[in-house]
């Protein structure tokens, strides 16, 4: 159960971002969790409530975006989303592919902050895209 370690990392990373934004109160933390990240959402949610106590994230909501796995299929010349996590074959042409483009994410993608204490947010755009950067470095296929 490493979700406790992961939750502690969320506190560190989100806490640092909150400080950068000069926010003293965080209402919601948005997280992109790839299906290949090895994270179990339920366990993470449970751990989150434990470790945020007494921090700037106390009482905040954790919203987890489930990111499916996408592989690049060379014969199709296209990105293909996989329906599951244990069959790395193109769902259209059935060619095996280990060229994973999405699904390993474990990224903080957004924070909902109390605007009265976050004046510096004015210059930043709201959450729109889901093109999160990859938390785990790509390993050669």
């Amino acid at each position: 159960m490493h979700e406790l370690s992961i939750a502690q990392s969320i506190v560190e990373v989100a806490g640092a971002e909150a400080a950068r934004l000069q926010a003293t109160r965080i209402l919601t933390v948005y997280l992109a969790v790839g299906r290949l990240s090895g994270i179990e959402a339920g366990a993470l949610q449970f751990s989150y409530d434990l470790v945020t106590e007494g921090t700037v994230l106390a009482g905040s909501r954790l919203v987890i975006e489930d990111v499916p796995i996408s592989i690049y299929c060379a014969p199709c010349g296209a990105l293909r989303e996989l329906p599951g996590v244990n069959r790395f074959r193109c769902p259209v042409c059935d060619t095996p592919s280990g060229d994973i483009r999405r699904g390993r994410e474990l990224d903080l993608t957004g924070l909902e902050v109390d605007e009265r204490v976050a004046a510096t947010c004015e210059t930043l755009s709201p959450v729109n895209g889901t093109d999160a950067m990859t938390g785990v470095p790509e390993r050669p296929a």
Binding site: H2, G38, S97, L108, T109, R116, P126, G135, P137
Partner: protein
């Protein structure tokens, strides 16, 4: 009319949750490359015979003159390290104090006093767990996942993240395959399903079966790695600098 509702705003942020570990792992990888030490991260569930496999590998490499060492992750004890020290190779224990995986920080903290430049291969025996260690890059050049014949052929399908993150799969306790009615083809298909193209080897630390093949593959991977990251003083030959893994 002024609203009395609290004004909140959603701010876009892009930050990897494991960035601290990943940055440290990148720094470690650069350090290993500069020193010319090939690092292998061994992952498996508990009871796959990981320590026996490592003892067998360390002993064989040490006898062949390869300068080898090991870092051994364990929840609380140092039994494995004492056992592995019999191989003649330097071994250090990393007690995780209940943590279910090793992190880059723990590796870095245990390298003090070791002259990395005097090592050829460093093995890291991760904590026996097929879930958590998958998330943590340790700066290794190769991740070897062990699967014993006693575990069932479908284990890769149940733990796809770990098998997908590995570079080579090793089926252990091959001498028990018949007794366990282990279906090698089914296990191979399950591994292929979650990690297309990954080499699958089999061995028995008891009979010695598969040892030569494993050491030969390790040597090929290390030679290939060295063409990309030559140790100080070694000039890579242009003819062998292909990035194709043999």
């Amino acid at each position: 009319m002024t609203s009395t509702l609290p004004a909140t705003r959603i701010v876009e942020v892009r930050a990897g949750i494991l960035r601290k570990n990943d940055e440290l792992a990148r720094a470690l990888r650069a350090r290993f490359e500069a020193a010319g030490v090939f690092v292998v991260n061994l992952v498996s569930s508990p009871g796959t015979g990981k320590t026996a496999f490592l003892e067998w590998t360390l002993t064989a490499l040490h006898q062949r003159g390869v300068r080898v060492a090991a870092l051994v992750g364990d929840l609380e004890t140092d039994n494995d390290a004492r056992r592995l020290a019999r191989s003649g190779a330097p071994v250090r224990q990393i007690n995780t104090h209940g943590r279910c995986h090793l992190e880059a920080e723990m590796i870095e903290a245990h390298l003090d006093g070791w002259a990395l430049g005097e090592l050829d291969v460093l093995f890291v025996e991760n904590v026996g767990n097929l879930v958590c260690p998958a998330s943590y890059d340790l700066g290794e050049a190769l991740r070897l996942v062990l699967l014993s014949v006693t575990e069932g052929e479908d284990k890769p399908l149940k733990y796809p993240t770990m098998f997908n993150s590995a570079d080579i799969a090793m089926i252990t306790k091959a001498d028990l395959a018949t007794a366990c009615e282990f279906d090698r083809a089914a296990a191979g298909a399950a591994i292929e399903s979650v990690r297309p193209g990954m080499p699958v080897l089999a061995c028995s630390s008891r009979t010695g079966e598969g040892l030569d093949e494993w050491l030969a593959l390790l040597d090929r991977r290390r030679s290939h790695w060295r063409t990309q990251w030559p140790a100080p003083g070694v000039v890579p030959s242009p003819a062998t600098s292909s990035r194709t893994v043999p």
